[in-house]
Symmetry: C2
Subunit: 296 residues, 2 copies
Amino acid sequence: MKLSRVGEDRLLAALLPSLRIAKTVVAGAGDDCAVIKLRGNRDFLVLKTDCVVEQVHFPSSAKPTDIGWKAMMRPLSDFAATSAVPQFALITLIVRQETEARRIKRIYRGLNAAAAQFDVSIVGGETSRTPGPLMLSISVAGSVERNRFVSRRGGKVGDDLFVTGRLGGALRHKHLRFVPRIAESRWLTENFSVHAMIDLSDGLGTDLPRLARASKVGFKINIHKLPLTAGCNIDNALSDGEDYELLFAISARERDRLQTSWRKKFRQLPLTRIGELRSKFDIRNSKLPGGYVHFE
Amino acid sequence: MKLSRVGEDRLLAALLPSLRIAKTVVAGAGDDCAVIKLRGNRDFLVLKTDCVVEQVHFPSSAKPTDIGWKAMMRPLSDFAATSAVPQFALITLIVRQETEARRIKRIYRGLNAAAAQFDVSIVGGETSRTPGPLMLSISVAGSVERNRFVSRRGGKVGDDLFVTGRLGGALRHKHLRFVPRIAESRWLTENFSVHAMIDLSDGLGTDLPRLARASKVGFKINIHKLPLTAGCNIDNALSDGEDYELLFAISARERDRLQTSWRKKFRQLPLTRIGELRSKFDIRNSKLPGGYVHFE
């Protein structure tokens, strides 16, 4: 069977049980980041790798600095989902031999600017030739305090569901220039107990069911309350993807304090309560692209 | 100017000074692995990423298990050069959508087998589509004791130069099935003070000058003493590449003890003294492909 028919999620799920996992691995394949307990180290080690491929993640006409920026920011968005601090990055750049050195320098300028934004040190670079499209793979190492680590898996029945920012329409430019919600995520876990979190890379319609499945709960959202990007509709918000906003679950008891202090801290960035986690039974009431949503 | 004319080493050298380096970085871009001092951790954190590209690092006809094996073993060979212990791997697999799922499973079987050989846990997997050739990028995290970390940079004038195994001809199969010299490297630093080390991925004619330059010394080798693979000549040993053997510099005072105990420990694997490190002056007496060699 072709990969396109099997689907990446299903294929990885089939392959992953056979992969070797050490006891020190707190979160591994299937989570946003790999999270590891190192002997003698108070914090967890956090690892993530991600790639961008020409014609898949960016058009050939994209500005080289934007390509570098997006390549670096994608794994950093997974750090945001984990509430981890990125520290070190390794870059693998795969290009045609006839690529202009000037173009590569500009890609690096984008990589550097993105890394600088979050004090990430680029500690290694590798280039390889290819007869095919340009490709960048970035791997990032960092850390998270044991009591601030968040995964997709801790959501509880009754938790409020919040999203940051606005959803939909990212493919009209924003996806190449986004800033991962690391500052917001770190502020959240400094001040609140966040039960579960995920970054919205594939769209709410796909990523919310992922969070719910990982937490073994259902959910109920009011799709008419979704914070829409100007010019976008509900379907865009659910399915466009590449929003790189945060979706998180937090005790409903924290609702007032969260909303009040968020407004003070992040005046420019909306925080929207879109629904809540429910018992498992609710999960299949209605089908939306890529996941199951219960309409209010 | 095109990348093919600038050369990857020169291009990276031009880009790297502008990359951000934190004070905790012991070895970074330009070394085999990135080596990092983590606060509160006795050992250094070691990071490496490497990739294989179809038609560049393996022919399209290569067995899928061999592709996975080579992809995993390449970064592990850099761990050998650093005398570090690899522990965790992240896999990025980039394939055409019409790839057979069976082929991908076999690639993973090769990745798994290679990881298992060195007790490496695969803690994350990512797949992406591409309209181009198959590509695997593997990033590995591990550790090395502070007093056993070896880089290219510690070679001293008068040191003996040794290589493990036999050189040349790797492209006739061996490059897809090699076993990185991690056991040998760990044994070396357990029992000896190794001043500088590198794995021979691009051929002795390129990698020896790299070690010498990084150590700021010259060298002198007897090319008639190189340990040749059966059917290979001196030129193959210098230029074929992909040997994945170790080249290391060690005090001449250790010569007898090293040779005697090596023969007892690794009966099957030759260890050959090929020359010595010299003062800088000697370095340009004669030119060999990819580097400078002084004939004895």
